[in-house]
Symmetry: C2
Subunit: 414 residues, 2 copies
C-alpha cells in the first residue's frame, strides 16, 4: 500500500506544482542542478555501494560502467537540468482558440497530466532527467528505478527533493518508489485514478508486462527493430553512409538499425561494399541465402533474426525484389519505431513514407536521428512507439494534456 500512499501524496503535490509559474519551476531546476554538484561526494559514495554490489553479483563490465557515476557524469546530469530551465514551459500554451458563432470564447490550453509514473532500468542519470522533465511540465513524478541503482537513486532523489522544497515547491513532486520488490511495480500499475500516465522505459519484457497489466494509461516506449532499405534508385554512396551509421554509430539504442534490406537490382554493386564496412566495424552479418555469396563471414539468418532487436554488433541482411517486398517485410517485422529508405526516386520515397507504419520514417538519413535532442526538442523522456497521445520522441509538450476553457455571459443551449 506504500505506493498508493505515495501516489496520493504526489496527487496533492501536483495541485501546487500545476499552478506553479515557469519562473518558480526554473528556479527549482537550477537549484536542483546546483545541489547535485555540491553533493557530488555523497552521490559518488552512494553509487559506490551499488557498483560494489553489481561487481559482487558478477555483472558485466558494460553493466557496471552504465551504473557508475563519476563527478563528470553528475555534472552532466546538472547540465541537463539547467538546459530544462532554459526551455519554454508547455503549461498554459493555448493549442486552439476561437470565438464560436454564439459568442462563446473557446480556448484549449495545455495542462500537466498530474502524476506521472516512470519505470526504468539501468543508468541512475535517468532519475535526474525524468524528475526534471516531469517538474518542468508541471507533473509530480513517481520514479521506480532499477534495484541495481538503489543507493544511487536514493541519494539523487534526496538531493533533488530538498532542492525542490528549498525553492518553495512541494518535495513530494519527486518521489522514489521501492525498488527492492516487484510489488511496487504492481501497485503502480493498479493506481488508476491516482496516477495519470505510466511510462515504462527499458527492455521489451518490462514494456510488455506494463502494457498488458496496467490499468493506468500507458505510453509504450522504446522497442525498435529498425530497418534500412536500400532502393534500386539509391545513391550507393549515401546508402553506404546511412547503412553503416544506422548500425554502428551506437549499438545499444532503440533507434539503431537491426536489419538491412537491399533491392536485388543493386545487390551486386552494394552488398560487397557494405559487408566490407560491417566487417571492418566488427559487425556480424546474418544474411539470407542471396546475401551469402557476397561475403565470407556471412552467418545464415534464421527466422528469428528478422524479428530480433540485437542491440549488439549484429545485423540481419536480406535481398528483396521490389519496394513492395521491402514494405511488406517491414510491416511484418517492424516495431513501429524508425524505418529508413535510401533512394533518389520521389515516387519510391513517397510510397515508402506513406505505407510504412512507424513513428519516424527517414529518407536518405540514418535511423539514429530519431531522438528528442536531434529533433530539437531540448529534452526527451523516451520515444513512444504507440499511436495514442504521442508518437516518436517525447519532449515537454508530450507530457501534458489539455483542458477546454469556455467563457460566456450566461449562455444557455437552445
Amino acid at each position: 500500500m506504500t505506493v498508493l500512499r505515495q501516489a496520493a501524496e504526489a496527487r496533492r503535490a501536483a495541485i501546487d506544482l500545476g499552478a506553479a509559474t515557469r519562473a518558480e519551476k526554473d528556479r527549482a531546476l537550477l537549484l536542483m542542478a546546483d545541489r547535485l554538484v555540491e553533493r557530488v561526494e555523497d552521490i559518488v559514495a552512494a553509487n559506490a555501494a551499488d557498483v560494489n554490489r553489481s561487481r559482487e553479483a558478477d555483472q558485466s563490465e558494460a553493466m557496471v560502467d552504465r551504473l557508475t557515476l563519476t563527478p563528470e557524469r553528475i555534472a552532466a546530469m546538472a547540465d541537463g537540468l539547467r538546459q530544462l530551465a532554459a526551455l519554454p514551459d508547455p503549461v498554459g500554451d493555448v493549442v486552439r482558440g476561437s470565438r464560436l458563432p454564439n459568442g462563446l470564447e473557446l480556448r484549449q490550453v495545455r495542462v500537466p497530466f498530474g502524476v506521472v509514473g516512470i519505470i526504468y532500468e539501468g543508468r541512475p542519470n535517468v532519475t535526474a532527467d525524468a524528475a526534471g522533465i516531469c517538474l518542468k511540465s508541471g507533473n509530480a513524478a513517481l520514479l521506480r528505478g532499477s534495484g541495481s541503482a538503489l543507493s544511487s537513486n536514493a541519494a539523487i532523489v534526496s538531493v533533488l527533493r530538498q532542492a525542490v522544497a528549498d525553492a518553495g515547491l512541494p518535495a513530494n513532486a519527486i518521489q522514489l518508489l521501492d525498488a527492492t520488490t516487484r510489488d511496487s511495480v504492481k501497485e503502480l500499475m493498479r493506481a488508476r485514478g491516482l496516477v495519470d500516465v505510466l511510462i515504462p522505459r527499458g527492455g521489451a519484457s518490462l514494456i510488455k508486462t506494463v502494457v498488458e497489466e496496467s490499468t493506468v494509461p500507458v505510453i509504450e516506449t522504446g522497442v525498435g527493430n529498425c530497418h534500412v532499405y536500400v532502393d534500386e534508385a539509391a545513391d550507393l554512396e549515401k546508402a553506404l553512409a546511412v547503412a553503416v551509421n544506422s548500425k554502428t554509430q551506437r549499438l545499444s539504442t532503440c533507434n539503431t538499425a537491426e536489419t538491412l534490406l537491399v533491392h536485388a537490382a543493386v545487390a551486386d554493386s552494394f552488398l560487397p561494399l557494405v559487408l566490407e564496412e560491417y566487417g571492418a566495424a566488427g559487425v556480424t552479418v546474418h544474411g539470407d541465402p542471396r546475401v551469402a555469396g557476397y561475403g565470407d563471414d556471412v552467418v545464415p539468418a534464421t527466422a528469428d533474426d528478422w524479428r530480433t532487436e540485437y542491440l549488439s554488433a549484429d545485423i540481419a541482411v536480406g535481398v528483396v525484389d521490389s519496394l513492395e517486398d521491402a514494405i511488406d517485410h517491414i510491416r511484418r517485422f517492424g516495431t513501429g519505431h524508425t524505418e529508413a529508405i535510401v533512394s533518389e526516386s520521389v515516387t519510391a520515397t513517397r510510397r515508402f513514407a506513406a505505407q510504412v507504419d512507424a513513428a519516424a520514417v527517414m529518407i536518405n538519413a540514418s535511423t539514429r536521428f530519431t531522438d528528442g535532442g536531434e529533433f530539437g526538442f531540448g529534452a526527451e523522456i523516451g520515444i513512444s512507439t504507440q499511436k495514442l497521445h504521442a508518437r516518436g520522441p517525447m519532449g515537454l509538450p508530450e507530457l501534458t494534456s489539455t483542458k477546454y476553457i469556455v467563457t460566456g455571459n450566461g449562455h444557455t443551449r437552445g
Copy 2:
C-alpha cells in the same frame, strides 16, 4: 476467433484506406448517404424486428423510442454522412515542421490510427455516425453495437459496406462484430497489435470493464458527474439561466449537470429562485441540510447523491462556504468531464479554471456546451474524459496519430 479474423481483415483494409485521398473518401461518404436513403424501407423493416423484440422483453417506452428508426431518422443519418464529406480531411495535415541545424527536413504529419474498435449501446444511428467518422479519418472501423439493435445495425452496415465497395474503397473498412455474445467484446479487448484504439461509448459499467480489461489502448468517454457552482460574485440572473439549462435542456446526456453548489453568501437570494424553476421543470432536488429550508419538496441528499450521474430529472444541491470548498467538492466527486462556475469575479473564475481538473471548464455558460457540434468540430465520436491523447469532444483530428517524416541527403549522426 472471429473477431481476430475480422480485425486482421480490417488491418488490410486500413492500408488502402489510409492511402485514399480526401476525394475518394468523400465520394464514398456521399454514396453511403444516398444508399441509406434509397434503402430506407429495408432498414425500417430490419429495425421493426429489433423494436418488436424490445417490446416483448418489456423494455421501457423510452428505450424503445431510442431504438426506433423512422425515415426521418434515417435521413438524418444520411445528412450526418454528407456533413462529414464537407469537413476537411485531417490525414496529411502537417502538425509541425522545421529544418534542423544539420539540414534535415522534419515534418510531423497526421496519419490514421489504422483500426479503431467502437463498443456502443443503444441507438442504431451511432452505427452510421461512427462508420462515417472512422472512414473520413482513414480508419477501418470494428463496430460492436448493442444486442438490442442487432438487425438494424446489420442492415445499416450491409448498406454502408456495399456503398464503400462501389466507391472503390475496401468494404472491410466497415465491419460489424457479433453482438449476440460478450465474447466479441472480450476478443476485441485482447486484439492488441491488430486493433490500434478502442473507444467504449455507453454507461459507466461498460467503460469501467473496457478500461480495466483491455490490452488495446483505450480512450475513455462519457461519464459525466458535472457540477454548476454559483459563486458569491455571481450575477444571479445568469446563474439561474445556467443552472436551469445545465440540468433541464436534456436530461440523459453526459454533459448534463448533476450537482449544483451555491455559495452561502447568495443562498438566501438564489436558492428560492432556482428551486422554484427546478420544481416547475419537474426536477427533484436532493438537498443538503442547508438547502432544505428553501423549498418544500427538497429530498434529503444522501452520501451517494454527490457521486451519482442521475441522467434523470434529479439534481443534488449543496451550499458551500467558499470557492475553495466548491473546488474541493468537485475534486472529490467530479468525473473530469465538465464543471461550470457562474461568477463576475475574474479572480474567482481564473482560480476555478486553473484548479478544477476537467476536460472542460465553463465560465458563465451551461455545461451542455461541451459537445463537438457546439465547439464547431462538425463531427464527434465521443467526449473523452481521460487525459491521454484526447480530452473533451473528439472530432476528426482526434481520430488520428502522427508520423515524423525526416528527409536528408545521406545524413549520418556524428
